[in-house]
Structure formats: structure tokens, C-alpha cells
């Protein structure tokens, strides 16, 4: 309501009064508003005449006689479409919601790794691509020590270079990964001295070769379950890493309980501890475990470890990465089923009433 100047508050302006005329005619104004308009009308002849002209217009419109319909609009009985069942409308809405949830979860899978991804090493960035194409990292691991070593060295250099930024990268990573530094640092410290030594690396490799089947599963499983954003690639890379391991399917499941084991393994077996670091080229998750054993398991890493093997043995990050793919599958399956049900309902309805 307009507050006039010079204390004349509540006085209706001419423009406001004009806007209220029709509502006043139809008795749609509140009593207070109607009172204010009537006060204005008493003083404003223009508005009074306008009101009366509007009334005449309204009456004129009311005199318009009904129009004669050209024909009957009743529906024919048989071939007319029957009403779609109420279930159809419900299914249609449910499908839309499920599909939206599915798309959101897929987008979350893409966004999360970007949000938590530290700088990683060039080898780390290479690893994801190699992961998809590497057939048997374990085979390469044991059968090509030379290749491993050559791959190892640049990786080692990258790893040592990255071990410094690793803590920073780790802190920049997602929250669940933040707890990685403490446990990672211990094994990193243990690994650091032998890291630059190629013989040690070789030794680690050979040590690892026989122990790989035994320890890698232990370590890789929790790592694989670690908060890696690309959950789908995680599974294939897991398989690639340990093709012979029957434990693989259970890797995600044992991720959480296996995490403490990883720490134990890391503490107890320095060379094996390097395996957590296997993640080497993995990109973000790698960052945390960057220096740990990256050089040791350079071959399998470059052979195609996924990013997951990295670090944060965090329960929350592990559960997040474990839950996200499950949620995605559930949402995707649900939206597909609902879409099928919606289309099916419509189709059956059309068939029945054709």
C-alpha cells in the first residue's frame, strides 16, 4: 500500500485505485481495501466514471448469448481410447524420479574423483589408461623384470618426486582420504630408504613376485576399495591386477575389514608395504600412498593398476566408493525397470482398447 508523503499514508493513489476497480465490482476486495477505494471514489470523479463504465462493459459481455454448437462432441463408444490407468501416471513419475537419481549418481561418480584428485604423477595419469588395456599385471610383474625395472625407475623418480607433494595432494583429497597420511607415512618412511635402490627394487619385485598372490590380495583389496572415484574402472582394474585371485569378487566387501590388515601388512613387511603404493600411476588416490611402495610395484602399477589401490584406508572413503557403484546399479536398474513398466502399461492398455 502506498504511503503518501506529508503524512497522508493510507491514501490510495489514482493508479492503484484504477487497478482495484474490477475487483471492487466483483466484490473481491478486502473490506479495508474496499473502504480505501470508496474514500478515493468520493474524491475522484474520473475513477467513479471509470468504475461505472467497467460495470456497463461487464453487463454487455454478460449479454452475449450462448453460441450454438455445430455438432455433438460426445465420444464414440467402441474405438475411443479408454482412460489410462492411474498406475500409468504413477509409474511415469516414478520412472522420471529414478532416472534423475541415476543420472545424479553417475554425475557424482564423475565429480568426486575430480574434487579429490591431487596432482599425481605422469605415470599415475598414464596408469588408468594402461589399466584398461593391461591383460595380466601379475604376469608382467613376474615375467618381465627388466621391463618392470625400466618402468620402475621413472616411476620411482616420479614417486619420490611425488612423495613430497603427496601429503599436500592427500590433504587436498576428499575428507575420507585425509586419514591416509598417518598410516601411509609410516610405511612410506620404511620404504623410503630402499626406494632409490634399484637392487632393492628388484629384490622387492622378486620378493613380491612370490608373495604377490598372498599379499597383494590383502593389500590390494582394501586399496581397491579405497575411495577411488572411478568405481567402474576399479573393478576391471582389480581383475587385471589379480586375475587369478578368487578373492576379487569379495574385494569390495572385504575392503573395510581388510583395511586394518593393510596397515598391519604395511607395518610388518616393508617390501610388501610398497604394494599399497602400487597405485603409482593411479592419479588421485595414489597421492596419499605416493611414496610408499610405488617404486616397488611399479610394473604392476603401470601395467594397469587402477587408481584405487592408493591410499586412504579410510572406512568412510572405502564405504563411499563401495556404496556409490552399488547405488548406481540400483538406480540404473530401478529406472530401467520402471521405464519398462510404464511403457508396458501403456502398450497393454492400447492393445486392449484398440
Amino acid at each position: 500500500m502506498r504511503m503518501g508523503f506529508f503524512g497522508r499514508s493510507r491514501e490510495l493513489s489514482h493508479e492503484q485505485a484504477q487497478e482495484w476497480l474490477s475487483a471492487y465490482l466483483d466484490r473481491q476486495l478486502h473490506r479495508e481495501e474496499a473502504g480505501r477505494l470508496e474514500s478515493h471514489l468520493q474524491a475522484c470523479a474520473g475513477c467513479r466514471e471509470e468504475l461505472q463504465a467497467l460495470r456497463a462493459t461487464q453487463l454487455l459481455l454478460r449479454t452475449l448469448p450462448p453460441v450454438r454448437i455445430p455438432r455433438s462432441f460426445t465420444l464414440e463408444a467402441a474405438p475411443r481410447p479408454a482412460p489410462l490407468p492411474g498406475a500409468f501416471f504413477f509409474l511415469r513419475t516414478a520412472t522420471a524420479m529414478a532416472t534423475t537419481a541415476f543420472v545424479a549418481l553417475m554425475a557424482a561418480a564423475l565429480v568426486l574423483p575430480l574434487a579429490g584428485a591431487p596432482a599425481g604423477t605422469p605415470a599415475a595419469q598414464r596408469a588408468p589408461q594402461e589399466a584398461t588395456e593391461a591383460s595380466a599385471p601379475v604376469v608382467a610383474f613376474g615375467a618381465q623384470p627388466e621391463a618392470a625395472r625400466s618402468a620402475l625407475e621413472p616411476t620411482m623418480e616420479a614417486a619420490s618426486a611425488a612423495s613430497a607433494p603427496a601429503p599436500e595432494a592427500r590433504s587436498a583429497a576428499t575428507a575420507p582420504m585425509r586419514a591416509a597420511p598417518p598410516p601411509a607415512q609410516a610405511p612410506a618412511a620404511a620404504i623410503a630408504p630402499p626406494a632409490p635402490a634399484t637392487p632393492v627394487g628388484e629384490q622387492s619385485l622378486t620378493e613380491l613376485a612370490p608373495t604377490a598372490p598372498a599379499t597383494l590380495p590383502k593389500v590390494a583389496a582394501p586399496l581397491a576399495a579405497a575411495p577411488s572415484a572411478p568405481a567402474p574402472p576399479a573393478e576391471p582394474s582389480e581383475a587385471q591386477l589379480h586375475p587369478s585371485r578368487p578373492m576379487e569378487p569379495a574385494a569390495a566387501d572385504v575392503a573395510a575389514p581388510a583395511l586394518p590388515q593393510a596397515d598391519v601388512a604395511a607395518a610388518g613387511e616393508p617390501p610388501v608395504v610398497g604394494s599399497p603404493g602400487v597405485a603409482s600411476g593411479d592419479g588421485e588416490p595414489d597421492a596419499g600412498v605416493a611414496g610408499i611402495g610405488r617404486e616397488k610395484l611399479a610394473l604392476p602399477e603401470t601395467a594397469g593398476l587402477p587408481g584405487e589401490l592408493v591410499e586412504s584406508p579410510q572406512q568412510s572413503s572405502a564405504s563411499l566408493s563401495a556404496t556409490l557403484p552399488v547405488l548406481q546399479y540400483v538406480a540404473g536398474a530401478l529406472s530401467a525397470l520402471l521405464a519398462l513398466a510404464t511403457v508396458g502399461t501403456w502398450w497393454v492398455h492400447r492393445r486392449r482398447h484398440r
Partner: protein, 217 residues
Amino acid sequence: MDEAAWIAASKAGDVQAFNRLVIAYQQTAYSLAVRMLRDEDSAADATQDAFLAAFTHMNQFRGGSFKAWLLRIVLNQVYDRLRRLQRHPTESIDALTYEDDSPVLQIVNGSPTPEEVAISGEVMACIEAGLRTLSPEQRATVILSDVHGMSYEEIAATTGTSLGTVKSRLNRGRMAMRGYLTKHTELLPGSIRQYLERGRLEKEEVPDMAASERTGP
């Protein structure tokens, strides 16, 4: 007439029950469509499509005013056709066919004069032409209110807008109509002309106007 029973039966797919609803509302539906579109063929198509759509989607009607729900479907059909016409304008100068026993113009000052009783087609055409100068939304609001006598709430439900929007559109639409009619008063009966120009109203028509009449300047 048990509209609720017809509606329930229609939801179950009873075409005969739905046709009872069609018979009850087709006059109103077609009247709205033809005044919006000004073309009888398009209006008939729009009305038929609206009834078909209403029957198909009966299970989406969850109570309230069936008339408002149905007219909303009619308006959607009308707006679709108006949009198409905007892209491909066609000339349509068909005059509307009125019922023979049209109601007499209600004159506010008592018994109508013979001149006023014989409402010529030109007056109706003038009003229809005036409606055409309004925007589609204003036209729909004015028609629903002053031709069909719907309440502001019903109009809001039919057009899917708020009460404030209804008030504003109705006010502007009526003022635009009044301006148009004032410019073409030569077609109107004398008494109507004077009402439009000087707006002399009797107190029994608008009781609350009595006060302002008597206490004029």
C-alpha cells in the same frame, strides 16, 4: 444429475457416463473455444480434442471443480492452436451463430426499450471484435468471468494462475474492452452508449455504489 457418479464411472472407462459429462459441458467448452479462436472449425476441433484428452486423462482428475479442470484442457488446446496460427496466420471472418432465443440485454435502468431488446448482430460482432484486441490471457479471463460467470477462484484454477494475476488480467481486459467499445459506440444502442460514456448506474445493480453516487462532488 449426479456428476460425481458420472466422473467415477468415466474414470473406470465408461464412455456413456463420460458422454453425460460431455453433454453437460460441451456448450461451455465450445463457447470458450470459439470466442478465443474466432474460427468455428478450429474451435470444434479444439473442443473435440479437449474431450478426448479429458477422457484419456480422467484418472488425473483428483476432485475439485470438474468444470475448471475441463476448461483448462480446452484452454490448452486453444493456446496450441493460437500458437500455430501465429506461425501460419489464416483469415477467418465467420460470424458466430447465436441461439435464436438469445437472452435479452439486461438494462440496468428497469424495463428495456424496444431498441434495447432488439440486440443486433452488429453489437455482438462489436463485442467479439473487441475481445479479439485483448491478449489471449486477458481474453480468456474476461470470457470466463463475464461470459461464463466464473468466480475468481475458478478462473485461477482454470488458467493455472494466482488470484492476483486473475484480478490484474480481468481489470486490464475490461478496460481495454471498454476503450474499444467506446470508440465504436455508433453500433451500440443509445442507452448502452450512455452507460459506457457516462456510466450511469442504478443503485439496485451495485448497492455499494449508492454511497459514492450520493456523496459525489
